[in-house]
């Protein structure tokens, strides 16, 4: 779905597992070294316009396609309580026309040249992209510049009202009318304290969406949608100097905005286990567990992803074997390291077999985590996980555009690490992971550490929820 990968926490995390990756230059995108030690990189050039806009260019002439990708450093973390969901609602308004692009033409013009486009909002950032035949590069840059520079001229109450309704339907479709749909926001609300920028969902609450005003739109635009709070990456069948010329032409005279207010996130920890139960119109009980872990692109972030793969990825993984194969108490089990800028979390999700109490699953999860913490993991388990991550990395080099394509990754690295060329260091993080590091991370982040344990159970079946008494601080080893 376009315009609104909200709940990006989950999807983004899934994407991170599948494609933590990037890159590939055009001419010789990766150099095979001995064995599986493929080297990956995305050759790029970097410029900064006087108004602060960062420009990244990557040439890949494999097919006559180019992707124009913009990241704005604003997400739901920048919202204030009472206006939750606003960053994402605003993203919708970015497609409704600007001073020189009449309403509706943003899409019709791109479709007419055979282009596709989309945008998404997460807790941390908002991105927009157009992937077009390379002869339509200038059109895509013109469109993006117009909405960065001249959005408010044609903004109306009616546009806001219609997109507000669209977003409310997006929320109903993805959350309120969806089995297990409220699980993620419930876990977030318990994982982070009131006032923490990750405490509320990207999609926001119905009440807050209802109260957003046109003045909010204007203020938000002036605060966050300025060239100094954005970066543009162009990847594909283009020449660097053409890109620079066009970006300077269309973005050059957009004035810089004031410095963007910094988001301060207090250190967070859970004092005790937080046990939560939701009764919902679902057929099977499902257990969600979430622990605080490490932020995006840190060393521990990579270690936790490898640990997650060892626990739940594939039939040979530890929890899959125990829960699904041996004990046969779960239908499925998955996990992900939820990599986010200010703070990360590690999630585990398991769906029970019919009528199985979630406490049984919780018990096995604790046991297997304890086993990793006590006895460690085998080198071959780490190797298997890293090989999978590496192959996914290489596969993801194939696309220049879209979510997770090369242009998107250059911007992500630029915005989150300050180094657009981070891709090499990114993969290196995984290659450095050792069995000892995995064991150590299991001890520090998971084993005996307080977590949010959410049970989603069929209506009228609260007895299927986890009932383990919470561990207090004093019980933590």
């Amino acid at each position: 779905m376009r315009r609104g990968r909200t709940r990006a926490s989950f999807r983004q995390a899934m994407v991170v597992t599948v494609a933590h990756a990037l890159t590939g230059g055009a001419a010789s995108p990766l150099d095979a070294q001995q064995g599986d030690q493929v080297e990956v990189h995305i050759p790029y050039t970097q410029h900064t316009l006087p108004n602060g806009l960062t420009v990244l260019v990557h040439r890949d002439p494999s097919i006559p396609v180019v992707s124009v990708n913009l990241w704005y450093h604003v997400g739901s973390k920048n919202e204030v309580p009472g206006r939750t969901g606003f960053a994402h609602l605003f993203e919708h308004l970015m497609f409704e026309g600007s001073a020189h692009v009449p309403e509706g033409e943003f899409d019709t013009r791109l479709e007419a040249v055979g282009g596709v486009n989309n945008g998404s909002t997460t807790n941390d950032r908002t991105n927009y992209w157009e992937t077009v035949p390379s002869n339509a590069l200038e059109l895509a840059i013109w469109l993006e510049a117009d909405r960065m520079g001249y959005l408010l001229e044609t903004m109306t109450q009616e546009k806001l009202d219609i997109q507000r309704d669209v977003v409310k339907n997006e929320r109903r479709q993805g959350v309120d009318n969806q089995p297990y749909g409220r699980a993620f926001e419930t876990v977030y609300a318990h994982l982070y304290p009131d006032g923490h920028p990750y405490q509320w969902p990207v999609i926001g609450s119905m009440d807050d969406l209802s109260t957003a005003t046109l003045d909010d739109v204007k203020e938000f635009f002036r605060t966050y949608y300025a060239p100094n709070n954005a970066s543009i990456a162009v990847a594909g069948d283009v020449r660097e100097r053409t890109v620079i010329r066009l970006v300077e032409k269309y973005f050059g005279d957009i004035p810089a905005g004031p410095p963007v207010p910094e988001v301060v996130a207090p250190d967070v920890s859970l004092a005790t286990d937080d046990v939560v139960v939701l009764e919902d119109a679902v057929p099977l009980p499902r257990l969600y567990a979430a622990w605080h872990s490490a932020p995006e692109f840190s060393e521990d972030d990579a270690v936790m992803e490898v640990l997650g793969a060892i626990l739940t990825d594939g039939k040979a993984s530890r929890l899959h074997r125990r829960l699904v194969f041996d004990d046969q108490i779960a239908q499925d089990v998955g996990s992900f390291q939820n990599s986010q800028q200010l703070a990360g979390s590690f999630w585990l999700v398991a769906t029970a077999r019919p009528d199985v109490a979630l406490g049984q699953i919780e018990g096995v999860v604790r046991e297997e985590i304890g086993r990793v913490a006590r006895e460690g993991v085998e080198p071959r388990e780490v190797e298997r996980a890293v090989n999978g991550i590496q192959a996914d990395f290489v596969r993801s080099l194939q696309r220049v555009g879209g979510f997770g394509g090369k242009a998107d990754r250059l911007n992500e690295y630029q915005m989150m690490t300050g180094d657009p060329g981070f891709v090499r260091r990114d993969l290196a993080r995984y290659r450095r992971v050792t069995p000892a590091a995995v064991q150590d991370a299991a001890r520090r982040f998971l084993d005996g550490r307080p977590a949010v344990w959410l049970s989603v159970v069929p209506e009228g079946r609260p007895e299927l929820a986890t009932g383990t008494p919470p561990i207090g601080e004093g019980d933590t080893p």
Partner: protein, 456 residues
């Protein structure tokens, strides 16, 4: 210096894009081998297709093709399921099985240097499956649970009910592809062994290999790994597609308290091998297949009724459904349905405009190269060729056929394949809230029905 922003920049000259050359060979065991070389990155995508599909099964065996496919990774005569998974993961390969109406596809994705090992494991899984008892039980429980999950997911409830309303009883497409729980629960290991033995056969199927490969080398590698595998699938599709009703009706499945209504409006459409698929594709794109199509502009951008609405021709071996699908707020269910019906009637009665047809043509032809970036995408296209027996130059000439579609072509196919007066309308939502306003539209009789699977 200020820039003239008042006019949209015109596209310049485009570098041509050619669909990768396809080398097509016939293996000794009767399988087709399609090889496309894409050497940009050392990755390979392989699809093995066998004509073991749900549409060739009778009602007593519905769901067996899916279950057998899902148990493929359960192990071989040489290694357990865990050992097989371990062997694949160690080389960074991904194996995926998907079973549909036409057949079972087993796909392998790996680095080029691991292709030989990957193919060996793929062949072992398909040619020497063991179907261990415990794996069969587990997969069966999983499938029954999936069916149960569907029964509580409003979008699935709507799609399943709609299929049952479009197709006459006995047409396989009338039932959910995963089957019904009572039937699936009756399957045991013998059913799976017998089914795989009868249908997992190379003739009439094919192998597609796309990536950084050498054609001759691939042929000998594939022939080597699949050498002893022979035979022809024993089951074939034996049915005619007929509609269940030709009078417009509304079917409401009650979900008390639902905040949204899932809406499906449709009827029997056409098959994948219909020569007029290009015209249908253009027609559907302008009507409901793209963001700026009529339906989405009306229901989403003008009215804010929905997050999105789409129409679609489900193109299968035999005529599948034509269907409009969306989910809308409970309070706007009736006006949203009214707009869908108005748009359908307008499409047939007032026809289409030249500019819309041109825009749809340009869009479809223009995005084609964008969707041929990865080896997996190209392999997917070639697998379609295998399944539906498309001509060798089908993909290479696809854009030409799209560009040739005229207003008259689009209107001709609309006259035949869009039939608003025969539409079956399914709404899954809060009946108490929506029934009266929907009845007040006066477009069709309204019936309350129990969802698929609940009668058992």
């Amino acid at each position: 210096m200020s820039v003239d922003r008042s006019r949209a920049p015109k596209p310049g000259r485009i570098r041509p894009f050619d669909f990768p050359d396809v080398d097509r060979r016939r293996l000794d065991n009767g399988a087709d081998l399609h090889i496309a070389r894409m050497g940009r990155l050392p990755v390979v995508s392989v699809n093995l297709f066998m004509r073991a599909g749900e549409a060739a099964l009778d009602a007593e065996h519905a769901g067996l093709a899916v279950l057998t496919g899902d148990t493929l990774e359960g192990g071989t005569r040489r290694r357990s399921g865990t050992e097989l998974a371990d062997a694949l993961e160690r080389i960074g390969a991904r194996l995926n099985v998907s079973t549909g109406w036409e057949g079972t596809s087993v796909s392998l994705s790996c680095l080029a240097e691991r292709l030989d090992e990957g193919l060996a494991l793929l062949a072992e899984a398909v040619v020497e499956p063991a179907f261990p008892e415990a794996e069969v039980e587990r997969a069966r429980a999983q499938q029954v649970a999936d069916i149960r999950q569907r029964s509580m997911d409003p979008a699935s409830i709507a799609s399943d009910e709609a299929a049952r309303r479009y197709f006459a009883e006995g047409v396989p497409y009338a039932r959910p592809q995963v089957g019904m729980s009572d039937v699936v629960e009756s399957f045991n290991r013998n059913h799976l062994v017998g089914y795989a033995d009868a249908t997992w056969r190379p003739e009439t199927g094919g192998v597609v290999v796309v990536g950084d490969v050498d054609e001759d080398e691939i042929e000998s590698t594939v022939a080597g790994h699949f050498g002893g595998w022979t035979g022809r699938p024993a089951l074939s599709q034996d049915f005619d597609v007929t509609p269940r009703a030709v009078e417009r009706r509304i079917w409401i499945v009650d979900r008390p308290g639902a905040v949204q209504s899932e809406i499906r409006v449709g009827h029997v459409g056409t098959s994948r091998t219909d020569p007029r698929v290009p015209a249908l594709t253009v027609l559907n794109t302008l009507f409901g297949g793209a963001f700026t199509s009529r339906l989405n502009l009306n229901l989403r951008e003008e009215h804010g009724f929905t997050y999105g609405v789409r129409s679609r021709f489900g193109l299968r071996g035999k005529p599948g459904p034509f269907q409009v699908g969306t989910s809308v707020g409970t309070d706007v269910t009736a006006p949203a349905l009214e707009q869908i019906v108005i748009e359908l009637e307008k499409l047939v009665e007032a026809g289409v405009r030249e500019d819309e047809v041109a825009a749809a043509r340009d869009y479809i032809a223009g995005v084609f190269p964008l969707r041929m970036e990865t080896v997996g995408q190209v392999a997917g296209r070639l697998t379609e060729s295998v399944i539906y027996g498309l001509p060798d130059d089908y993909h290479a000439t696809y854009r030409e056929r799209i560009r040739a579609v005229t207003v008259a072509d689009a209107e001709d196919v609309a006259a035949v394949h869009i039939r608003p007066s025969e539409a079956q309308i399914v709404i899954v939502g809060d009946a108490t809230a929506i029934r009266a306003p929907v009845e007040a539209l006066g477009i069709a009789d309204v019936h309350r029905v129990a969802p698929v699977g609940s009668e058992a």
